[in-house]
């Protein structure tokens, strides 16, 4: 059922340092994310992920806790600096598991997309996710009834 969080996990048969490199080094990021990645790897560092087809999307590094957590905010609007209203937060966490690495990604911040949303939403953020879940569940039940 939906939550306003997107999360996925993958098991990787590689040492954590290799996974850390894959998700933080621009040259490696461009192999799995966009076509280009250029940014300053420090908290507050800025840059952009580029897609030949879509253009450049600015990012800001939010967290570096090597080799456990890495987070950046990325604007989902072309050529704009990330703000809460135009971006989401992508956070990776890494853990040793079964001789390899468990990598989890969490993408959040869907509620704040737009100034108007933010005002009402911030007051209601607690419980919002659960509420949406419950609402979807019961509306689907109504639908099939």
């Amino acid at each position: 059922m939906s939550e306003l969080v997107v999360t996925r996990t993958v098991h990787i048969n590689a040492h954590r340092s290799a996974v850390w490199a894959a998700i933080t080094e621009p040259a490696l990021i461009s192999e799995w994310f966009g076509d280009t990645a250029v940014f300053d790897l420090r908290v507050g560092g800025t840059g952009a992920m580029g897609w030949n087809e879509w253009g450049e999307f600015h990012i800001v590094v939010e967290e570096i806790d090597q080799p456990s957590a890495f987070a950046f905010r990325w604007a989902r609007v072309k050529d704009a600096d990330p703000t809460p209203s135009n971006s989401t937060l992508v956070r990776f966490t890494l853990a040793d598991k079964d001789g390899g690495t468990q990598l989890t990604v969490l993408e959040t911040g869907w509620e704040q997309y737009d100034g108007d949303v933010a005002t009402g939403m911030k007051e209601n953020t607690e419980g919002w996710v659960e509420e949406l879940d419950e609402l979807v569940a019961f509306l689907e039940k109504q639908d099939s009834a």
């Binding site: 993958v10 590689a14 490696l28 989902r76 609402l135 979807v136």
Partner: protein, 104 residues
């Protein structure tokens, strides 16, 4: 896609609208009937109903002399599907990260 989500989230950003949707989920009601159940004026209810209808969360059902409203689940399911789709993009990216990391 994003504009789509924004519109739905914006429409749901007020507690009153949740309250309205919750009540409409159990049965069709007119704006007057909703105003009788909620601590909000009929005019305010009418505005909320318009906002909810604009993003497809409720629809008007003319019933005799009054207009009743019913909740629509399909639209919220759509939000769930969009988030699933974004999750699928991450599945694909994580698979590629796995390739990059395991190669080294």
């Amino acid at each position: 896609m994003i504009e789509d989500l924004v519109a739905v989230f914006a429409a749901l950003s007020e507690q009153t609208r949740w309250d309205i949707l919750t009540r409409l989920g159990s049965r069709e009601l007119s704006a007057s009937a909703l105003a009788a159940e909620l601590p909000v004026s009929r005019q305010a209810i009418a505005k909320h109903l318009i906002a909810l209808a604009e993003v497809g969360l409720v629809e008007a059902v003319p019933t005799g002399r009054e207009i009743r409203y019913r909740a629509l689940g399909a639209r919220l399911s759509r939000v769930a599907m969009e988030l699933d789709r974004i999750g699928s993009e991450w599945d694909a990216r994580l698979s590629r990260i796995k390739l990059v990391a395991e190669r080294s």
